[in-house]
């Protein structure tokens, strides 16, 4: 018996997608131009099953954000932290903003995506950095 924490469950499709954010990242686009995120078999907008991987735009714009003062137990991130929803063309991503305080962020602020490991949970953590 090892004392090491077991690896968190793999989420095929999501895990590879999140890892790719370190290199700029990708999203799925259907034949009708709707964006979505993996794991995905069907476009949630139109039902198309013709999905291709396309590169994310280099930067996105903050659509909304919140400075969170109360974190879930076991989350590992020390509050306060800033969670933002950021638009990248036809899709949006949710993540934690690095290197900018809440006071430095406004709707429209440009950021780029990246990925970290959450040491407390072992999960991938989507983050945004100043563009």
């Amino acid at each position: 018996m090892s004392d090491a924490e077991p690896d968190p469950p793999a989420n095929t499709g999501y895990d590879e997608w999140a890892d790719a954010l370190a290199e700029g990242g990708y999203f799925l686009e259907c034949a009708n131009g709707h964006g979505s995120l993996p794991p995905r078999r069907v476009c949630p907008e139109c039902g198309s099953t013709d999905l291709s991987e396309e590169s994310l735009p280099d930067t996105g714009a903050v659509a909304t954000f919140s400075k969170v003062h109360v974190a879930p137990s076991g989350f590992g991130e020390e509050p306060p932290y800033v969670t933002a929803v950021v638009g990248f063309g036809s899709i949006r991503l949710t993540g934690i903003v690095r290197d900018l305080s809440a006071e430095e962020i406004e709707i429209g602020t440009a950021v780029r995506p990246d990925v970290e490991r959450n040491d407390a949970t072992g999960n991938r953590l989507v983050v945004f950095r100043p563009a």
Binding site: A71, S73, V85, V126
Partner: protein, 388 residues
């Protein structure tokens, strides 16, 4: 299709019930509902039961048989789970079962036990209603998600924290006389504004409390009510449900809740009433901004007009359209899996005239209830009418 009557309602006081099991809470509400209806538990043909986080809070899954037994019923039960809309869905499915002729007399409601957990544990448990991969892992909490919506709303339509503080003060004022409310005390707009931040722009007094409680309704067919000479003057005449993408990031407009608009359109059409005929409403104000977005989705206020409704006095007890006369989730409390049933219990009492705040709406004949799950990825709306 037969009509559906609310024959009886039962509630536990909402608040902190230290040491009491969920099954005991639900049994209290169920027995109160049966007593209010004058219906024997043996008569109930099926239990529709809402519960969200029992597997986390009490390590108890498979709760329907547990609470059916605790309530002394002799029938089978089904648990419904759609986050904070769990009891709303349970009631809706009971309405559909009675209308179909499948059942004549049912018990519907829900229960949640929450205060035995720490605030951080409750925060973690409630976050389970969000998208695990795309939201929870990014640190989105339940208050955080509504904070993201509040900022999007302010950006699109205007409004500010003071508008929201008026929603909190209104609902606290309404709860003062409600014997079932967790916070039977008033707060001022200034107190709400000065409360500590939880997730900007929302502060502590924008949020509903953590609550233990249960709700139960005896729902019967018109024929059953007549045959058994029941005093069941309030009918559920409209029911509707709407859904949306689970993650906020996938919504076209984060300042709107189309699932509630869809549920409302279905319920209004079902009842054959227009939004302009609604006399009184109980809406899902888990956060003050949620009441604002509900008022607009229910077509009670135009987009951008909901945020000032409490401040203008439109939705206060003396206003044209009193909203959350029970105190709402904000002040009455929010045992998540019980709330949808509680709203209908309160509306029934308001329309029957036996609610402490019925005097605010003495001539009301049409009431609306709005119950939402997650960031309104699920919504259930019911129309209640005085039938006789």
């Amino acid at each position: 299709m037969t009509g559906v009557r609310v024959a009886g309602v039962g509630l536990t006081p909402f608040g902190e019930h230290a040491g009491r099991t969920g099954r005991d809470l639900f049994a209290e509400a169920a027995l109160a509902a049966l007593d209010d209806a004058g219906v024997d538990g043996d008569e109930i043909e099926h239990l529709n039961y809402g519960n969200f986080m029992g597997a986390l809070a009490e390590r108890q899954g498979h709760q329907a048989p547990i609470v059916t037994e605790a309530a002394g019923l002799r029938c089978a039960g089904t648990r419904y789970e759609e986050a904070c809309a769990s009891a709303g869905v349970a009631v809706r499915e009971a309405v559909r079962a009675v209308r179909s002729g499948e059942n004549d007399v049912m018990l519907a409601g829900g229960m949640e036990r929450m205060t035995n957990l720490s605030t951080a544990e409750v925060t973690e448990s409630l976050a389970v209603a969000a998208d695990e991969l795309f939201e929870v892992r990014a640190g989105v909490t339940f208050p955080g998600a509504y904070a993201l919506m509040a900022r999007a709303y302010f950006d699109e339509y205007g409004g500010d924290r003071e508008d929201l503080a008026h929603v909190a003060a209104k609902n606290h004022a309404n709860a003062v006389n409600n014997e079932y409310a967790q916070y039977q005390r008033e707060i001022t707009v200034e107190q709400a504004l000065d409360s500590p931040p939880v997730a900007s722009p929302l502060h502590l007094f924008d949020a509903c409390p953590i609550t233990d409680g249960a709700s139960a309704l005896v729902l019967v067919s018109e024929e059953y009510a007549e045959a058994h000479d029941l005093d069941a003057s309030v009918a559920i005449t409209g029911t509707g449900q709407g859904g949306d993408r689970a993650a906020l990031q996938d919504r076209a407009d984060m300042a709107r809740t189309p699932a509630a608009a869809d549920a409302a359109a279905e319920a209004y059409g079902d009842a054959g009433v227009g939004s302009d005929e609604v006399d009184v409403a109980e809406v899902h104000d888990c956060f003050t901004i949620a009441e604002v977005m509900a008022l607009e989705a229910l077509d009670l206020f135009d987009p951008g007009e909901g945020v000032g409704a409490a401040r203008r006095g439109d939705t206060t007890r003396d206003g044209d359209l009193p909203v959350n006369l029970s105190g709402g989730l904000k002040a009455k409390g929010h045992p998540v899996g019980a709330t949808g049933g509680s709203q209908i219990a309160e509306m029934t009492r308001l329309l029957r005239g036996d609610h402490p705040n019925s005097d605010a709406v003495p001539d009301a004949t049409v009431g609306l209830t709005h119950n939402a799950g997650g960031t309104v990825a699920s919504a259930v709306v019911h129309v209640l009418e005085v039938a006789e």
